[in-house]
């Protein structure tokens, strides 16, 4: 957690300035009763108007001075808190960008979002408040106690005993509050999670008429959040009445013993009055304290959640001696690769070996769940292999800098993920600063150019979240164009043409030949596989067989079955 608050360091000058002006205000506040008494005692009581005017003028001037100070404080305090929040957000986001997928599994998306917005807001507002009012209360408490001790040690010992006890009580409450606030934030995560799921699955929910079901699910998450919030806030709010009661009982004690001591002549009347006066002031000073303590426990809870993310160990990173790979030919080799997803026991890929030469097209086929997509994820090193190695141009990819490796790869996932923005921006994702001609060329090859031209704003058409206003096939083709625009040396197509009609698909595959790259295609269609130089047939994570279409037709009964499932028995004759 020190981690989070250490980000305040760059702003120490601003913090000092803010605190300085807070002091200025505090001093002016303390001086004002003095001026007021001057006006009353020397001016009004003596009917001396010039004195009233002079001191009144001074008072106005000085309060104007405080006003300016307050405004400056406001500026610096906002600056510190906002910049601090900005810095944490930046750190968090950069950290998350370096997350591996295993890391992502640790935190649901909704939780990451809460941490990056709500949690940071909590910390931010606490910092802002601290720089504006926080110091007042503790200073008043400490100053008041010290002054009381100076006035009459014996009587004030009451306060000196009570106050540390109360502070201990507050700290206890704060620690408990922190833990409870942490669980409030966790509940907020789940509320966020339900909303997120509902937004993503809204079509399905409407289609299956599950509104009421979802509403009651949300209600439950919401209720949990409410109950947890109520319970922690009630704990926090209990501190205040307890505090006041104890302080007030203390004042009664002072009154009693004061009376005793005055009676015995040990203490002067004025001293008792003064100490009671200090005690009441301290009591008033305590009242914003409960608010402060609540803010602090909440900020502490949030800071804990943020540093959890910041301190997450990244399990996939560049090795120290990793070097960039400049020019890639496109030779890909899998050598005895075994792989299972982090945190699971079941291997998805076992002892997989094959090579693909530069420029070749490799089709990957296999039943649903046989490990095709998992195999793909190993090439851009989204996950590390558990055994064996993946080589590109003869180099183990673990010795290659991640970004230099991925720069060579064009990846088209199964689900066409697009981002809010224009079509042009989405295609340009593939290559930063891509020229319009390059984008159009990629779009043409991906067979989407004509469709785009028919849209009202052509390439500047804005697509909504996840491309909802496009058809499945259109999304897939934009996603393909995005991969093509980077002129990849290795192209990975993960069943990315499933929503395309066959004519479009055939044209697209023909256009891919314009690119000199090693192409891997996951496909269900024999017609696509037939074109490949090599077909890998996977079954339950193992490489069952490999070869060309003709070879597999001869050797592999599974391949023959697939063939028949698509062409019927009669058509097999032509092979």
């Amino acid at each position: 957690m020190s981690n989070v608050f250490s980000l305040l360091k760059p702003y120490r000058i601003s913090i000092v300035i803010a605190i300085f002006f807070m002091f200025v205000e505090l001093v002016v506040d303390l001086l004002q009763p003095l001026f007021m008494s001057k006006i009353i005692d020397n001016g009004i009581l003596h009917k001396d108007l010039p004195v009233v005017m002079t001191w009144g003028g001074i008072m106005l001037a000085i309060s104007f001075f405080a006003f300016i100070g307050g405004i400056i404080n406001s500026f610096y305090a906002s600056h510190v808190s906002q910049s601090f929040g900005y810095d944490i957000r930046k750190r968090l986001f950069i950290k998350i960008q370096s997350f591996s997928f295993a890391n992502f599994n640790q935190y649901p998306t909704s939780s990451l979002i809460t941490r990056m917005t709500n949690d940071i807001t909590q910390i931010q507002s606490t910092v802002f408040m601290s720089l504006r009012i926080m110091l007042r209360a503790p200073l008043m408490v400490i100053g008041g106690t010290v002054m009381a001790l100076i006035v009459n040690f014996k009587l004030a010992i009451f306060l000196a005993i009570i106050i540390p006890l109360l502070i201990a009580f507050l700290i206890w409450a704060m620690n408990r509050g922190t833990r409870q606030f942490q669980s409030v934030q966790k509940r907020l995560d789940s509320v966020n999670g339900v909303i997120r799921e509902n937004l993503a699955g809204i079509r399905l929910i409407k289609a299956f008429l599950r509104k009421d079901f979802e509403v009651s699910r949300f209600k439950k998450a919401n209720e949990d959040l409410k109950n947890q919030t109520v319970s922690v806030l009630r704990l926090m709010e209990t501190t205040m009445p307890v505090l006041l009661l104890v302080m007030n009982l203390g004042i009664m004690g002072i009154l009693w013993f004061g009376n005793v001591q005055v009676h015995s002549g040990e203490t002067k009347v004025g001293e008792v009055v003064a100490i009671i006066n200090y005690a009441t002031r301290i009591t008033t000073a305590f009242s914003p304290l409960s608010f402060i303590i609540r803010a602090f426990s909440r900020a502490k809870a949030s800071a804990g959640r943020i540093s959890d993310v910041l301190e997450t160990d990244i399990d996939l990173f560049d090795q120290d001696d990793a070097t960039s790979i400049k020019k890639v030919e496109g030779n890909v080799e899998f050598a005895n690769v075994s792989f299972r997803y982090p945190g699971t026991d079941e291997p998805v890929l076992q002892n997989l070996s094959f090579t693909a030469d530069a420029g070749q097209t490799v089709a990957i086929m296999g039943a649903t769940g046989s490990g095709k997509s998992s195999l793909f994820q190993l090439i851009p090193r989204l996950y590390d292999v558990n055994e064996g190695a993946v080589f590109i141009d003869g180099r183990d990819i673990r010795t290659v800098k991640l970004d230099s490796l991925r720069k060579q790869i064009g990846y088209v996932p199964q689900e066409a993920l697009l981002f809010t923005g224009t079509i042009r921006e989405n295609i340009a994702w593939g290559k930063e600063g891509a020229a319009m001609e390059e984008i159009i060329k990629a779009a043409k090859n991906a067979q989407i150019h004509e469709t785009i031209c028919k849209l009202p704003d052509q390439y500047e058409t804005i697509i909504g979240q996840k491309g909802v206003n496009l058809s499945g096939g259109q999304k897939q083709r934009i996603s393909i164009a995005r991969a093509l625009v980077r002129n990849p040396k290795i192209l990975l197509l993960d069943d990315s043409t499933s929503a395309l009609d066959l004519k479009t698909e055939a044209r697209l595959l023909a256009c891919l030949k314009n690119y000199t790259c090693t192409t891997f295609i996951i496909t269900q269609k024999i017609s696509t596989a037939m074109e490949a130089d090599n077909i890998l047939l996977l079954e339950d994570g193992r490489l069952l067989t490999k070869g060309t279409h003709e070879e597999l037709l001869k050797h592999s009964s599974l391949y023959k079955q697939i063939f028949q499932s698509q062409f019927g028995k009669g058509d097999a004759r032509y092979a």
């Binding site: 009144g56 309060s63 305090a77 906002s78 986001f93 409407k206 509403v215 009671i276 649903t368």
Partner: protein, 609 residues
Amino acid sequence: MLKEWGQPFRYRKVNHQEKNEDGTFKRKKPKAKIGTVKRIWRYLSYNKGLLAAVLLLVALSSGLGLYGPFLIGKGIDKFIVTGSYKGLWILLLELAGVYILYSASLWLQNIWMIGIAQKTVFQMRNELFRHLHQLPISFFDKRQHGELMSRVTNDIENVSSTLNDSVIQVFSSLITLIGTVAVMLALSPLLTVVTLVIVPLMFFGMKWITNRTGLLFKEQQRNLGELNGYIEEIVSGQRIVKTFSQEQKVINEFMEKSGRLKESAFWAQSYSGFIPKLMNVLNNLSFAIIAGIGGILALKGTISIGVIVIFVEYSRQFTRPLNDLSNQFNTLLSAIAGADRVFEILDEDEEMRDEKDSVCLAEVKGEVEFRNVSFSYEKKGDTVRGINFTVKPGETVALVGPTGAGKTTIINLLSRFYTVDSGAIFIDGHDLSTVKRESLRQHMGFVLQDSFLFQGTVRENIRYGRLDATDQEVEEAAMLANAHSFIQKLPDQYDTILGQDGGGISQGQKQLLSIARAILADPAILILDEATSSIDTITELKIQEALGRLMKGRTSFVIAHRLNTIQKADQILVLQDGKITEKGSHPELLKQKGFYYGLYYSQFHKDIS
């Protein structure tokens, strides 16, 4: 290092004026936010009784808070000064009673208020969520998910913290304020008026500030929402970010959005920070005015010096609650901004309500007719036009055509996710626009293009099709969909928890689960939109059998690119550019030698030719 001194003054000015669509500033002053406050009040007033009790307690504790010091003063005068013991006991007992009562009433009012506030927030969230479900699909097409999420959490959170703190504070300040003004009026109406001179000043000062902060807070919440949206998208799309190694680009974009939030929040906070300072200056001004004018009046002998002294004291009493109120203003303003954004969604038009006289379809045979249907999503350029076809109960209809030809649109219209622009759709002779949406969808089963799964167990996800299905029925559906065998291999079989967005299983397996879900729903009309696109063809063959059994006796709509899956359809509709260009059974269409013919032969025999 020195650079830092000037930093707070280097923030880019954020405009606090609302812009018109063309970028010019609105001349109109920002709308009064009274409407928003009234609406929050409406939520609060659900708990009127308790709220009244809290109010009473606030009055009680305010009174006790004043009575305590009064008793102490009395004690000092009577006992300490005189040194007498007589009756001190009684006074102390009285004092103890007052203090205990005081603390108890404080405690109770806080506890109750928290309950009220959180209940209010709970209701707002629920209402918002419920409302989201009543919005048309087109609403969601336009919005970023994360941005909407921000409204349900961040914006409502703002309202929540304000209700917790401010309501009691505002009440108690008002009570003190009224009491003080009453006493002041009784003492000297003239000086009271003088004291109140600062009120208009205060009013203008506050107005100046709130005119700015109101919009700035809104801007801040908007930026926060946008940032939320961006984070959601990027985290969900992490696979793309990583494989395209665009981390730096994403970070830059994020920082730009984050910077915008920082700027607007900086100004909102700075401006609202002025309020207490302004109040302080005005306090002192009022004090000086009272002293000055009081002095003159005293010189003339109009009022006694004692009155002035008391008045000075009271003017402080008068401004203290105002000060407290102004300190709350900050949170109040941001809460209003938050609430505003929540109400914005609540004010969105619901999916057109069913007509009053719309009917429930108790039973559906499954006859479907499209009569001259046209529709467009953006209201410019028809997506589909002049669609005419009839389907008899139990028939299977296949929709074929290039991507973007309007196949999914027809499904969207049939299920009334969208409403036709012209023409009409009939089911069993009922015009769809006269049928209750819910009762319509009750008879339909869907396997949609993107097979969405919820976080939860496999069993729960299948059961989504029919919530009251038994475990056995769930498993039977899974077997029919050929999902049973892979589920058996999962670590906890049917109780395996799927990660968010259905993580942990492959795309094809997700489709199998969606099919199982639709099978379980047992609908009269079945819709399969690319239901098997990610499933390998051998598995598909096996499902085909099951689907064949499933489709028997039901009207089914099938969209598929692999033509072998639809050859058996009773009717094939070929869509091109939003129009039906060919219609008929497989052999009929082959005879026509049109688009379908070409498509069919490109798929099956391209290598021969």
